[in-house]
């Protein structure tokens, strides 16, 4: 953990978390603390209050058909979720008045093919963000979610553009936005092109009980 001049905490691993941390170091006054995992004890032990915290949820597991989801996979996701739950509780205790929390998750909460378990946990993430919003309201805290596409959506993510959005949601410039989910997928959820491209696929799949993953 890097502890100099703490002001913003970035939690998570992978290119999106790294891009967010480096954007904060470049653009935002005060230091950036990074944690690879949501660790409630480490958050509670921080010496200084936080102006903002960005929590990047662990990526959803690879696609699986509903009937193939096994108990080990469910238990692993529950352990990750409980870490995140505890970390959010600890964060509310360390956030300065008017501080902001940004939770980077995915669009699974809306439902998706071949990801029923991941969708469920995505829904749980969004709900946690809403609870944190309501619980932190009195202290002027804000919380919002950024929802990325799922890996099986196939479009990939540009970590830098997610970092831009995270910095915005963590800063007072976005003070009018609270308890919201921003779907950050360049409008791909409208699926206009995909619908056209996959029309033939769907016609074939209707007779063979479903599109392949």
């Amino acid at each position: 953990m890097n502890m100099s001049k703490p002001s913003t905490l970035v939690i998570g691993q992978g290119p999106v978390a790294e891009a967010i941390a480096s954007r904060f170091s470049a653009d935002v006054q005060g230091g950036v603390i990074t944690l690879a995992r949501p660790d409630a004890a480490a958050i509670t032990a921080l010496e200084h209050g936080l102006a903002a915290a960005v929590l990047v949820a662990p990526p959803a597991p690879p696609p699986s058909l509903f009937l193939d989801i096994d108990d080990a996979r469910l238990d692993a996701q529950l352990a990750d979720f409980t870490d995140l739950f505890e970390a959010l509780g600890a964060l509310l205790g360390r956030l300065n008045p008017k501080g902001a929390i940004v939770l980077v998750g995915d669009r699974g909460y809306l439902g998706a093919w071949g990801a029923a378990d991941a969708c469920a946990f995505s829904g749980a993430h969004v709900a946690l963000m809403r609870c944190v919003t309501l619980e932190g309201f009195g202290a002027g805290h804000r919380a919002n979610c950024i929802a990325l596409d799922l890996a099986q959506d196939g479009a990939g993510v540009d970590p830098d553009e997610i970092a831009d959005l995270a910095v915005h949601l963590a800063s007072p410039a976005s003070r009018a936005i609270n308890g919201e989910i921003i779907l950050a997928n360049r409008g791909r959820s409208l699926r206009v092109r995909e619908a056209k491209d996959r029309r033939a696929d769907f016609a074939a799949s209707a007779s063979s009980k479903g599109p392949s993953l």
Binding site: L65, F66, L67, I69, D71, L74, D75, L78, F81, T82, F85, E86, L88, G89, A90, L92, G93, G108, Y109, L110, G111, A112, W113, G114, A115, A116, D117, C119, A120, F121, S122, G123, A124, H125, V126, A127, L128, R130, C131, V132, T133, L134, E135, F137, G179, S205, K209, G210
Partner: protein, 241 residues
């Protein structure tokens, strides 16, 4: 031959009302509950009322026990995933890891496991109904319960997207406050919470069972992936002060 409806958390409260409603609709029932004593008490009443109910004292988190309860069952036509527990209304920072695991374990993981085992035995035209909660929209306090029910809502959508290709519909009911022992846990706050209901009172479990009955049957054959809010309109917001 009558169709079979499997109901979890069947021994009391909303689950018991669902057993009685689906039984009256003509279903044979497979009733699961972790509370063996309460389940056998209810089973005696059901027998007396002439319902065909097979019971199994099962903790729905336990996949092997759920599979055992399904022994010899050829087809589950309807599954109602109702078993659930509430969480204390404490702020998120005061809810410990064990409480979070317990609530998520029953309300989400058991729901998934039971659904998998039932859907494997579900014919074309089957229907799954998950009991979520109005609370999934968020609240100050009981974040673990809220998260578990939001998870059930998103699970419902994802299951519906996937299982429609098997001819199985998946919907959820999201009740507001219902008059069962679950709300006794609110203690001193109960009176105030009741007054916040649009009707000034919680729903009767039979009112939730009536919605389940529609979603279970052919009248809802074109309804899939939906979350039916049954909260007297509370989720529409409060009147101006």
């Amino acid at each position: 031959m009558p169709q079979l409806a499997m109901v979890t958390g069947a021994a009391q409260g909303i689950g018991r009302a669902i057993v009685e409603r689906l039984g009256a609709d003509g279903f044979d029932i497979l009733a699961l509950d972790a509370d063996e004593t309460q389940l056998s008490r209810s089973a005696a009443d059901w027998r007396e009322a002439g319902l065909t109910v097979r019971t199994a004292a099962v903790d729905c988190r336990d996949r092997a026990a759920v599979i055992k309860a399904l022994d010899g069952v050829e087809a589950v036509d309807v599954l109602v995933n109702n078993a659930g527990i509430s969480g204390v209304l404490d702020p998120i920072g005061q809810v410990d890891r064990a409480a979070c695991d317990r609530v998520m374990g029953v309300n989400l993981l058991a729901t998934i496991r039971v659904a998998q085992e039932a859907v494997r035995r579900m014919p074309d035209g089957g229907s799954v109904i998950n009991i979520a909660s109005r609370g999934y929209l968020g609240g100050a306090g009981a974040a673990h319960y809220v998260a578990s029910k939001a998870a059930v809502v998103s699970l419902t959508r994802a299951m519906a997207i996937e299982l429609r290709w098997r001819g199985v519909r998946v919907n959820a009911v999201a009740p507001g406050m219902v008059d069962t022992r679950m709300i006794d846990g609110f203690g001193d706050m109960l009176g105030a919470l009741k007054r916040m209901e649009p009707t000034g009172a919680p729903a009767n479990p039979a009112e939730i069972a009536a919605i389940v009955s529609v979603l279970a049957g052919p009248d809802a054959s074109f309804v899939n992936g939906q979350i039916l809010m049954a909260d007297g309109g509370k989720s529409l917001g409060l009147p101006p002060l």
